[in-house]
Symmetry: C2
Amino acid sequence: MKSKFKSVEGAVVAPLGFRTGGVFCDIKRLGTGKGSDKGQKRDLCLLVSETPASVAGLFTTNQICAAPVKVCVPRVSKGLAQAVVVNSGNANACTGRKGMKDALAMAALAEEVLGLPEGRVLVASTGRIGVQLPMTQVGSGIAAAAQVLGTSPEHAAHAAEAIMTSDTRPKTVAVEFRIGGKTVRIGGMCKGAGMIQPGMSPNGARPATAPAGLHATMLCFITTDAAIAAKPLQSALNEAVAGSFNRITVDGDMSTNDTVLVLANGLAGNTPLKKASGPGFVAFAEALRHVCLELAKMIVRDGEGVHRVVTVRVEGAKSDAEADSAARAVANSLLVKTSWHGGDPNWGRIIDALGYSPATVVEDRVDIGYGSAGSKRILWSLRRGQPTKTPFADLWKAVQADEFELRIRLNLGKGSAFIYAADLTEEYVDFNKGTIADPSQAGALGG
Amino acid sequence: MKSKFKSVEGAVVAPLGFRTGGVFCDIKRLGTGKGSDKGQKRDLCLLVSETPASVAGLFTTNQICAAPVKVCVPRVSKGLAQAVVVNSGNANACTGRKGMKDALAMAALAEEVLGLPEGRVLVASTGRIGVQLPMTQVGSGIAAAAQVLGTSPEHAAHAAEAIMTSDTRPKTVAVEFRIGGKTVRIGGMCKGAGMIQPGMSPNGARPATAPAGLHATMLCFITTDAAIAAKPLQSALNEAVAGSFNRITVDGDMSTNDTVLVLANGLAGNTPLKKASGPGFVAFAEALRHVCLELAKMIVRDGEGVHRVVTVRVEGAKSDAEADSAARAVANSLLVKTSWHGGDPNWGRIIDALGYSPATVVEDRVDIGYGSAGSKRILWSLRRGQPTKTPFADLWKAVQADEFELRIRLNLGKGSAFIYAADLTEEYVDFNKGTIADPSQAGALGG
């Protein structure tokens, strides 16, 4: 499907009035010296708006949530912010009172160096759990990042690198569109890789109807020069995340740190969007949804050890919630995920997972088929619970693609849902087993 | 902990009046000839009581349930049976009306060859999903098995082999104890390996409070010469399975075929146990629980690719149901399971999984520690959400063992639960990816 949005360069600094910079400050205390000139991956970035911006955010619903999340929730609720400071290599999660103090200090250091009032800087962290932030390094990193702020695509690339952990590549997008005759831009960057099955809400509170087993840290920072008030901005973000980041899974583990933030500084000069309706809002919401979906898909494609990306689409469930639970059961089944890795069109494992999902499933109603990106045709392997006459070689070919769609029809109602999922590979296991040959190498906990 | 039960030889034929036999009949239609004398793994067995026996059973709560399960549920509910016929290599699941006809025919063939009235034989299958049973082979297998029935440990070993799929070894146990002065025996055999997280109920109906995401086929056949009526037998089995088979997970996938059956023929001559109370019943129930627990642990130890077995024990939850959901979230977390494989005492991943579980968890209440089999001492790595001073090398050493206990205290209430869980290894992924180099090799579906 061709996008209706014009892609532009610059990621988070594509919108007017934003500057960013990423540096290496040795958060993991590798002791290999400072500065990315030594070939170290950047691990801290600043993202700054020229002017105060409307802000909206969504956060992990994990009950164990990191200090930076606890700092952001009340700040975002005030609707106004001007900068974000982010580090990788340390999650500042399960770090107790000292962790909270450090997260606040991290924001305060950025406020000081940027000359902003207290409360105007948001903070995010990703990396090891249970290790205290090295505040000397964080402090020198913030000072260094403030020195290198800029608006070039290279600046954006440095920031996108600085938020990566086990990601193999930076993930960015930016689009341009029009609201009431004015050109508006939205840019974004994100990181993911492992511990990925976000289930975020605006205040981190768990919805009463949380999908069973919501679960790498994903961080996403979005900028826009649209003029939009905080409330409609939050509405647009809620809807965009519900259809993107909250619909992905790499390994089914929900992180303590998942965070999506959007800053809107209004410098595009459109008539300010004050409510969540009207053509201007609709155009903005649609563009934001597009940006979130593109970034979310990048996270799955770059998931730890991922070889194949599969869109699991469930239709005809008794309700959307049942469709979601059915799709997640399939998307997180180890036997289904390993069969995707092997390129095996194994419907037996799929119907097994549907059967133990919380969704209502009736064997002789179930259809299971495969589609390919860019084609509307579905190759059905199972219809009404019975194997079809589709040649096995055709089904086999469909699941050899790097990306394909698994279409499931329960034929019981009108509920539907999709999940962007990934295969499970030996590389994932090898990467995450974290074998420690020398136990004197302490502190290698969490993350 | 030393067992109070005397182990005896003979597995399912240790109790008086039972005969068994296992044969190779080429269920997978390998076309390599018949008979295990050709070095083929046995794939069909009969287990027969001399006299009609009380029967009890539990079955998968997967909504997609195999034909043999559908045949057993009503037969078991009548409380009387005399034999079981079991095949491996084909699950007879998702096989429609023909599958039901075949499951009934399989029982009828056994009834005929054994000279039993209709309805007296129970049936179980395990293996590929979605492939019709090869009834010619099944028929010749039943006839052959009936010819080789016997009561020696070798007979029991052949039967235990015949029910194996990806299991690397047979799993059997038998104990002897006394009821009211009479010696009574209980013997059992089971199979497991992959698609293992049973959640069974007496009629396959899902409990209203099913743990989120209950999920290899496990089959278990238990014999006893105790005299006990069907109702108290079912009560004892319900309680034994709740504390054993329903508390294990290899990969979190619940099968379409999970089945536990117990036949009690009364030949021990004890005063018949007519209700689920009294010292005789208590002794019987305790022995049955012991047999089920030993067999359940064998399934986890022999799970696909399993290197380490971990008992996840959660205490201090708000309720037993919350403790169960917390234990299952930890036991099924890919990041926790891979860290077990690596021998990494990573509490960050554990507390992360607790936080996204449906159970109530408060960060600064959580204790996480490790114990070893045969020792009551727990090495605490986290107390009240804070890392302890336990040397990392000690924690590291605790998780290098082939089996250890992970002790979690939520410190919020009195709920407790345990799950026998396994690590996730590259071998599991490699074994289950089922790569098909030649797609003309059709029919390699399911299972």
